[in-house]
Amino acid sequence: MSDNTTHTIQLTLKPGQHDGDGQRVAEAAARHLGLTTGRVRSAALYTVRYPLTETQLSDFATRCLADPVLHDVRLNELTAAEGFATYILVARRPGVTDDEGTSAQNALADILNEPLDVHTQHIFSKKLYLLENDLPETDLRRIVEGLLGNKLINWLEVGRVADGIRDYTPRPGGGAEAITEVISLTGRTDAELVQLSKENIYALNLEEMRAVRDYFAAAETQAERKAVGLPVDPTDCELEIIAQTWSEHCKHKEFSALINYKDLETGEEKQVDSLFKTYIKDATSEVDRQLRANGNDWLIKVFSDNAGAVRINPDSLFVWKVETHNSPSAIDPYGGAITGILGNNRDPLATGIGGARLLFNTNVLCFGNPEFDGQLLTGQLHPRRILEGVRKGIEDGGNKSGVPTVNGAIVFDDRYAGKPLVYCGTGAVMPMQFAGLDSWEKKIDAGDRIIMAGGRVGKDGIHGATFSSIELDETAPATAVQIGSPITQKLAMDFLLLAARRGLLKCSTDNGAGGLSSSVGELAGISGGAVVELERVPLKYPGLRPWEIFVSESQERFTLVVEPGKMAELLALGQEMEVELTDIGYFTSDGFLDVRFDGAPVARLNMHFLHEGVPRKILEAEWTKPAAAEPEISAVTDYTETLTQLLGSLNICSRESVIRQYDHEVKGRTIVKPLMGATGQAPQDAAVVRFNFESWEGVAVSNGILPRYGDLDAYDMSAGSFDEAVRQIIAVGGKLPNLTPGDGIFWSVNDNFCVPDSVYDPASNPDGKQKLAKLVRMCEALRDATAAYCIPLTSGKDSMKNDFKADGVKISVPPTVLYSMTAKMEDVRRAITSDFKQADDVVYLLGETHDELGGSEFYALHGQLGANVPKVNFEKAKALYTLVGQANDQRLIQSCHDLSDGGLAVALAETTFGYGYGAEIDLPATGLPLATQLFSESHSRFLATVAPEDVVAFEQLLGERATRLGRVTLDGQLTVRHAGQPVIAANTATLRAAWTNGPVNKLLGVVSKDNLSHSNSL
């Protein structure tokens, strides 16, 4: 199998060494597929396509690749299969990121002491599994496709060892390169235009296709094209650029549309002139006006760059961005999530000049029930597989970049089983100035060079922007999947930090959706044009056409803007830090985006048409209140069992197995982590991270998301989600903004809407008007919330087509919005954690409980939705939060936990998890039924404890907003009484075990009788 330039190195574990990989395959096959594999042995394969002598090959294998303690090495033979009947080989398809191969290549270059082009792939890594049992090919396929690889990115071989092990090494490329085709639009019927858009994945509708046709047919366009030697009809590259620029993903056409809204309840009719402008941009402008009027001028950059920026202090900015990566995560969960988090990292990194230091990541994930045992649709992945893949993607994306994942959430609902939602957030710190220039500004002049930095370009990710703008079906294109390479991006990130600090960058942006087409196209809007010479773009392999090079979304790339005089120094730094930099053109001011290949024009588009020419959508929305009724649930006298069930339910149970696989404290600045306390098992409301080691200033980070309430009222769902995120920050000791003149307490919020297709179509989307009405109501609540709290939005995103269609079935996500909030903490040492601190501290409920069990976890436990959805009273909430802030100023609060899923009862249990305290609680006599008092999810409430000596001061300050419930005890018993009778009586260790051994930890194979606790501290 070898010639003089191709060799295969096989590593297997020495006898006696634990083969964890093999064992996990055997266990997973038994557990998830019911297949008995017998013993499984794993082997690592490296195919080296590089001329090496026998000695060099052997040295490389034994000294660089093999661990002398662990591995046996075989050269150019796939053997060691005695006792094994069948095999599975997992290789990569051509051009798919192979970091392991690249690292092996680095090692080869080092041992040979030769310069070896690490950007061309010479080494291909693979995994071989040998199975003891003689399973039929169909079962082997189930194992490899269900557990080990993804057909879209992996080449998978299975078979009998006796028939010979089939190897596979990708040979990418081939075919002509410099081909640009012309696509005629003239004379096409409407149906043909729509067909063309669908076939080429332009994702443009008829009206948009007509606008494109008319642009090219215009006499002025024709004359311009003739002058530069372009054909009359558009080139493939031009249509691709337009499709990408006009994609919903990049242009937010539905958030900019004119919407005719009817409320069928009240008869009210109104026209909304752009959701974005009306409810987001204008609302934030009003907040900014109020802030500035009060001497709070920290809002620096909103909506106009890759991420929003607020001022921390006179020296530095906080940069914050949250995005989604839903469609890619549906078809390749690992690749989708890792590119999601790495792509989102690039947003703050490339805001303004670029070169911010990343401080933390967050993530919020929405999945179908991972215990689903029904029939999957064609192309649909099992929710468990999506969860595991996404989790691993976030682990690698964050951990390998050295960015702590400080908090997050997982929401389960069967309607996320088609398309999961994967929200990735990144906070960063940037100095106010780089080399004397304002860091947040993006300035470009004609003549500035366009530099591509980082990874190379392949076919991966072509059509990502347009693909994510349409609903998913079983024909999802393989090229839309990409695998991120955290190490490549880490090198580029380290480089960007230094280049910015040395004043070598004029500005930068990231290459995400739409690739160069998007990044250069948008930057060219600043100077007024650009010339790109595509033949200069370094490729992973030959065979890409010019349009593919321009729209490819190959990852880990930045586009840098550099003054010609600084090129030499920049290129030298890139070489030193092993980051590939390529000069691919320059900016102009002639009003055209001009793309060439080897001097020949492949695209030349009027910038005004490109950015402003998309026809405006006009959409219809109709609101009818969903029919809903409160259920009859018979009252019981003891709710201990109900509480235990809630603690072990899918949406409340512990996420420890997920959380611990994320590094949440690299950088050494995380002060409030997701799980705290002596046990390391007390869940917290918001993360707190300090900015550096020289001051105690920091930032609190929270996420609000409550999709189930949207089934009752989308307005209340959105308002509640906003309030949830605010109160989480108040709980950890944050303060509302603008309460005192010039206090400088910044807040920075990202809104992320993820909704099903909300464009009405009588056949394919008959309830589209109602869905759009829900979106309008969500936006109305957002406007009201920002105004009430004086909290500004700084950036955000909308994802409009979260539907999965296959086999004639459509699975649509419930309309979902995530509010991701950050707020300045003046002194992180004053942060408040949720868990009880000391026996005899007095327990209070802060805020008002109402008859609001609609959409609650308590009702869900009984299979009910109910009707009385929790509503936010912004005025009362703001008054309470202000007082809580004052109480914290006086250091009156010892612990504070916000009330959310499961209400008061669940919060009471969770606050005992940190140390094993108990509590004696007497519920007050109110008009509310007992179950409502225990489980209502009314907003704007906290469970707080106060030291006995501070009770008088605390009660004086909070007045009737605080209800005294009881006291913390040392005995580890949670006792709740109502009218003198015990209604909950449980050992808190038992409650903690129910929570810890819930379905999420069980699913990921982490179950423990001792709660996995860090018991040494007890």
């Binding site: 660089c64 690749l65 092996a104 710190v429 550096n692 040494n1016």
Partner: protein, 311 residues
């Protein structure tokens, strides 16, 4: 280079240097970064807080001869994912130090590091840095010939995990890094921290010399193999090793992530119990130890160091 005021008083050095780093007389700590190393900032902060001068440099600046390790007192390999840990953690970086020639005469950085240790200087590796030192054979280096004798590999759980553990210092250990420390709470954050000692003889030799300087312990203070108290299933319940000289020290857990009391998961309750407790984290002690030791050594042997520098 432009200093970012919000980002650290520690000296973040990236330019080529002339002569001996620093002129303040402070202990000089060199902290390597690049290629996926990601704990260099807190590492530098640890040395700064301990009173040393910390210099962060990209590994290529050392490999290309712009910075000499011999201008420093203590060489540090921070944690992270060097080269993505793709061939096994620390493997590719160790390979680079062992094989990449840094001068025409075939010298490698490993040759320089051996000289550095022979000069009586100190090397510290944390997490990925510990893995590098083990894969290089600098730890435990029982045979004195810098050949890999043990390895660090995938946790028994098969998972990467971030969790806090308690360590006990081996009373037989003589390394100045651990002087005066009995027990230590620290976070572990790794997927490949299981120490594998291949045979009984090696195990016995490590124990006899007290090179297994840190053990994962249970609530009774005894070394434990029980998950999650021992988070990875390490042989000898071992969390850290020194070489026989005590000058080279590596550990899987992250003392540089516990510089402030407020890093501990239970800080809020503990400070309620003891409001006057120090705001320093327990991890800082290791850095204070080595800085004090070197400062004392330097002041006692100043002329000799001068001579060595001139050679």
């Amino acid at each position: 280079m432009v200093q970012e005021p919000a980002q650290g008083a520690h000296k973040v050095q990236s330019e080529a240097q002339d002569g001996r780093a620093g002129s303040s007389g402070a202990v000089q700590a060199l902290i390597l970064t690049g290629f996926g190393i990601n704990c260099e900032e807190e590492f530098a902060a640890a040395y700064s807080l301990a009173g040393a001068e910390a210099t962060i440099v990209h590994l290529n600046q050392v490999l290309h001869g712009q910075v000499s390790i011999h201008d420093f007192d203590v060489l540090n390999f921070p944690g992270g994912f060097s080269f993505g840990d793709d061939l096994g953690s620390g493997v590719v970086l160790a390979n680079k130090l062992r094989y990449r020639q840094t001068s025409a005469d075939g010298r490698t950085l490993l040759d320089d590091i051996k000289q550095f240790i022979a000069d009586g200087k100190f090397v510290l590796g944390i997490c990925n840095g510990f893995q590098v030192l083990v894969k290089l054979g600098l730890l435990p280096n029982l045979g004195g010939d810098v050949t890999p004798e043990v390895t660090l590999t995938h946790n028994a759980s098969g998972r990467y995990e971030d969790r806090w553990v308690t360590l006990r210092v081996n009373p037989a250990s003589r390394t100045p890094f651990l002087k005066g420390i009995d027990k230590l709470e620290v976070p572990v954050r790794h997927g490949e921290g299981r120490l594998v000692v291949p045979d009984e003889a090696t195990r016995a030799a490590i124990e006899a010399a007290g090179l297994n300087c840190l053990s994962y312990i249970d609530a009774n203070g005894d070394g434990t193999s029980e998950y999650p108290l021992n988070p990875n299933g390490a042989d000898l319940n071992c969390a850290g090793l020194t070489d026989p000289t005590g000058q080279v020290f590596g550990l899987m857990p992250h003392p540089e992530a516990f510089l402030a009391a407020y890093n501990h998961p239970d800080w809020a309750r503990r400070r309620r119990q003891n409001p006057e407790a120090s705001e320093e984290g327990e991890g800082l002690k290791i850095f204070q130890n080595i800085v004090a030791h070197i400062a004392q050594k330097n002041s006692a042997t100043a002329p000799a160091v001068q001579l060595a520098d001139q050679n």
